[in-house]
C-alpha cells in the first residue's frame, strides 16, 4: 500500500479556507522557516480513499471477535459517540466562565458520583488520561499521604506482584518509589507469607488487581489489605479488571484506598487504536485532600450551582492540562446511564459467564493455567505443545488471524509460560463464542496435523509475519522523501 506522501502531487489540494479579509501583515523574515514542511498535497477524494484503504487493513471490535485479555474489548455503543459529539460539549473552551459550563461540570460531577458508588470510593479526579497515567497519579497520592505524615523518607517501597501489568512497576518508579516484587503462589494469587515478609515500616503501599491478571479473584483480599494497612502502607487497586465485579463487590469494601479505572475498558469508550483513554483515580477520604485541582463542588443549597474548587490544600498538583479527556468521560457517563443499576451488574455477570463458557468449551484441548472457575478472563498455556511440537502461543495466535479473530493477549502474565489470555466480554453472543470455539478447535487440529506449517501463519492477512528484528536493528521511523 502506498504511503500518503507517495500519492501526493504538486498542485493538488482542498479548498478549505476563505480568503483573508484583513490586510496581510508580513511575517518577519528572520523568524521564518527556510523550507515548507513536506505535507501531502491531495484532493479530497484521494484522502477519503487513502484512509478507507487503511481502514480496510485494520481490525476493530466492529470487525470481529476481539478477546484480548486484560483489555476488555467490549462493544462501543454508538450513542456514546453521538453524545460526545454534541456541540454543547465539543465547542467549549476549557477556560470559559463557570456559569457558561454548568453542563460540563455536571458531567464531571455525575460521573464522579456514579463511579465512586461503583468502586466504593469517596472522591475522584478525571485528569489522568490513561490507565498508566492513573497509576502514576494514584501513587503520587500515596506519596503525598506519607509525606504529610512525615514518613516519606522511610516509606520508599511499593510492593507489586510478579503477575502485575508492566505499567505498575514502571509507574511506581516514576513516582519516586523502589519496587519490590512479590511472588505469586501456585494459584496465581498473592503469597501471603511472602507478603508478610516484605511488609514493614519501609512499605509505602501495595498495587494489586482483583480479579488478578490470571482472571482469578483473590479470596484473601481482606487479609492482604489488612497486612499492608497494619504495616502502615496503603493499597492501590489497578482497575483494569473491574468489569468482572462491578455491581457485585467494590474495591473500597475490599480495603483498597485508591483506585484507577480504565473508562476505555470497563465503561465501553472506544480505544481508538491506542487512545484517547481515560484513567480517573478515585480515593478514600484520607487521600482526597491530595487530589489534583480543580475539583467540582456544589455551591449554595436550593439554588445551587457547580463551581471549580481550586483550593490548593495539599494537592499533588496537576498531572495534565485542564480536566483530562473530558469527551471520554461524556461517553462513559452515557454508558453508565444507559446500563443503570441493573445493567452494570448484569454486564459483570455476563462477562464472567461468557469467560467460563468459553473456557469450558476449550479446556479438553487447550490446557488451562489454573483449573477452577474464572472471572472475566482465563489463561491458557501452550507450554506443552511448544515443548512437544514446537507450536507456541504465538503460532496459535497468528493462525487465528487467518480466521478473522483478534488473538488473545500473548505472553502475559509473565508467570505463565506460553500464555494466551482470553477475555470475551459480555457483549459477545453465544453464537459468536460458539464460532470462536470451532475456530480455536480447528486451529488446534491444524497444529496437530502440521506443526511446522504453523510457523508460516498467517497466510491470508494483508501482510504476513514481519521482520521485527530488522525493524529494531535498523529503525526506520519516518518516510524519507
Amino acid at each position: 500500500m502506498q504511503l500518503i506522501f507517495e500519492k501526493s502531487k504538486e498542485g493538488r489540494g482542498c479548498a478549505i479556507l476563505p480568503e483573508m479579509d484583513v490586510a496581510t501583515t508580513e511575517f518577519p523574515v528572520f523568524l521564518k522557516r527556510s523550507t515548507a514542511p513536506k505535507l501531502p498535497q491531495m484532493a479530497e477524494v484521494d484522502i477519503s480513499r487513502h484512509y478507507t484503504e487503511l481502514a480496510k487493513c485494520t481490525h476493530g471490535v466492529n470487525d470481529g471477535f476481539y478477546p484480548l485479555g486484560s483489555c476488555t474489548m467490549k462493544y462501543n455503543p454508538r450513542i456514546n459517540e453521538e453524545m460526545a459529539a454534541l456541540k454543547g460539549f465539543t465547542s467549549l473552551h476549557p477556560l470559559q466562565p463557570e456559569h457558561t459550563v454548568q453542563g460540563a461540570l455536571e458531567v464531571l460531577q455525575l460521573a464522579e458520583t456514579y463511579l465512586c458508588e461503583i468502586t466504593g470510593m469517596d472522591a475522584m479526579t478525571f485528569q489522568p488520561s490513561a490507565g498508566a497515567h492513573g497509576e502514576f497519579t494514584g501513587l503520587l497520592l500515596i506519596r503525598a499521604y506519607h509525606k504529610s505524615r512525615g514518613e516519606l523518607e522511610k516509606r520508599r517501597k511499593i510492593l507489586v506482584p510478579d503477575a502485575a501489568h508492566g505499567t505498575n512497576p514502571a509507574s511506581a518508579v516514576m513516582a519516586g518509589f523502589t519496587v519490590v516484587n512479590i511472588p505469586s503462589n501456585e494459584q496465581g494469587c498473592v503469597d501471603i507469607e511472602k507478603l508478610k515478609e516484605a511488609c514493614g515500616d519501609d512499605t509505602a503501599g501495595l498495587m494489586l488487581t482483583n480479579p488478578n491478571t490470571v482472571g482469578l479473584f483473590d479470596q484473601n483480599i481482606l487479609e492482604i489489605t489488612k497486612i499492608v494497612h497494619e504495616a502502615g502502607g496503603l493499597v492501590y487497586y489497578d482497575g483494569a479488571n473491574l468489569n468482572a465485579i462491578m455491581g457485585i463487590v467494590r474495591p473500597g469494601d475490599m480495603g483498597f484506598d485508591v483506585v484507577h479505572l480504565n473508562l476505555h475498558k470497563t465503561f465501553s469508550t472506544p480505544h481508538g487504536g491506542g487512545g484517547p483513554g481515560s484513567g480517573p483515580v478515585g480515593c478514600k477520604e484520607i487521600l482526597a485532600p491530595f487530589l489534583p485541582r480543580p475539583t467540582v463542588d456544589k455551591v449554595g443549597d436550593t439554588d445551587w450551582s457547580l463551581a471549580w474548587n481550586h483550593q490548593p490544600s495539599k494537592s499533588i498538583g496537576a498531572v495534565r492540562s485542564f480536566y483530562g479527556n473530558f469527551l471520554v468521560v461524556v461517553k462513559a457517563l452515557t454508558y453508565i446511564m444507559s446500563l443503570g443499576q441493573q445493567g452494570i451488574r448484569e454486564a459483570a455477570q455476563n462477562a464472567v459467564l461468557n469467560a467460563n463458557y468459553l473456557m469450558h468449551c476449550l479446556s479438553d484441548l487447550y490446557p488451562m493455567a489454573f483449573d477452577r472457575y474464572c472471572m472475566h478472563e482465563f489463561v491458557m498455556t501452550l507450554e506443552q505443545s511448544k515443548k512437544e511440537m514446537d507450536v507456541s502461543a504465538l503460532d496459535i495466535a497468528k493462525a487465528l488471524l487467518d480466521y478473522g479473530i483478534h488473538p488473545p493477549t500473548m505472553y502475559f502474565p509473565l508467570i505463565v509460560h506460553e500464555a494466551l489470555m482470553v477475555e470475551p466480554t459480555e457483549t459477545e453472543s453465544k453464537d459468536t463464542l460458539d464460532q470462536a470455539v470451532c475456530i480455536l478447535r480447528k486451529v488446534y487440529e491444524e497444529a496437530m496435523e502440521d506443526p511446522s506449517g504453523m510457523h508460516q501463519r498467517p497466510l491470508n492477512t494483508p501482510v504476513r509475519r514481519l521482520d521485527e528484528v530488522g525493524a529494531a536493528r535498523h529503525p526506520k521511523l519516518r518516510y524519507e522523501f
Partner: protein, 126 residues
C-alpha cells in the same frame, strides 16, 4: 555451541579475556547469545564507570525482552565497544569477538570458570 579455551567464563554467562597486564575484555558467551535470540540493541556503560562482580553493568535488548549483563569481575571500565551500538547483530554472529567493555584494575576474578568447567555448567543448567 562453542566454548573457546582462550578465556574464562562466569556462571552468569559472560566471558573474560586477558588483553594485557591487569586488563580484560568482557563479552557474552555463545551459549548466552543463543538463548537471548536476535539482539537488537545494547545499552553500554561509560568509560570510567566502576563495575562490580555479579552486578549488572549493561543490558541487551531483543525484540520482546531485555536482559541484564552481569560483570564477571570488579574493576574500572576503560573502553566500551561503540561499534555494537550500530551493529548489535555482531553479538549473535561473532560472540567471541564482539566484546562489550574493557576493564582495568581488575579484582575479584576468583569465581571464574575455565572453558571446560563452563561447558559442564551449561550442560547441567540445561
Amino acid at each position: 555451541m562453542e566454548f573457546r579455551s582462550d578465556r574464562n567464563y562466569s556462571k552468569s554467562h559472560e566471558w573474560v579475556k586477558e588483553i594485557g597486564t591487569d586488563k580484560v575484555e568482557i563479552g557474552i558467551s555463545d551459549f548466552a547469545q543463543d538463548a537471548l535470540g536476535d539482539i537488537v540493541f545494547v545499552n553500554l556503560p561509560q568509560a570510567g564507570d566502576e563495575v562490580e562482580v555479579q552486578t549488572p553493568f549493561c543490558d541487551v535488548e531483543s525484540v520482546k525482552a531485555v536482559s541484564d549483563v552481569y560483570s564477571p569481575v570488579s574493576g574500572i571500565v576503560c573502553e566500551v565497544n561503540e561499534d555494537l551500538l550500530d551493529n548489535p547483530a555482531r553479538i549473535n554472529e561473532e560472540p567471541f569477538d564482539a566484546w562489550l567493555i574493557r576493564v582495568e584494575q581488575v579484582t575479584q576474578r576468583e569465581a571464574l570458570l575455565s572453558a571446560e568447567e563452563y561447558e559442564d555448567f551449561t550442560k547441567k543448567e540445561a
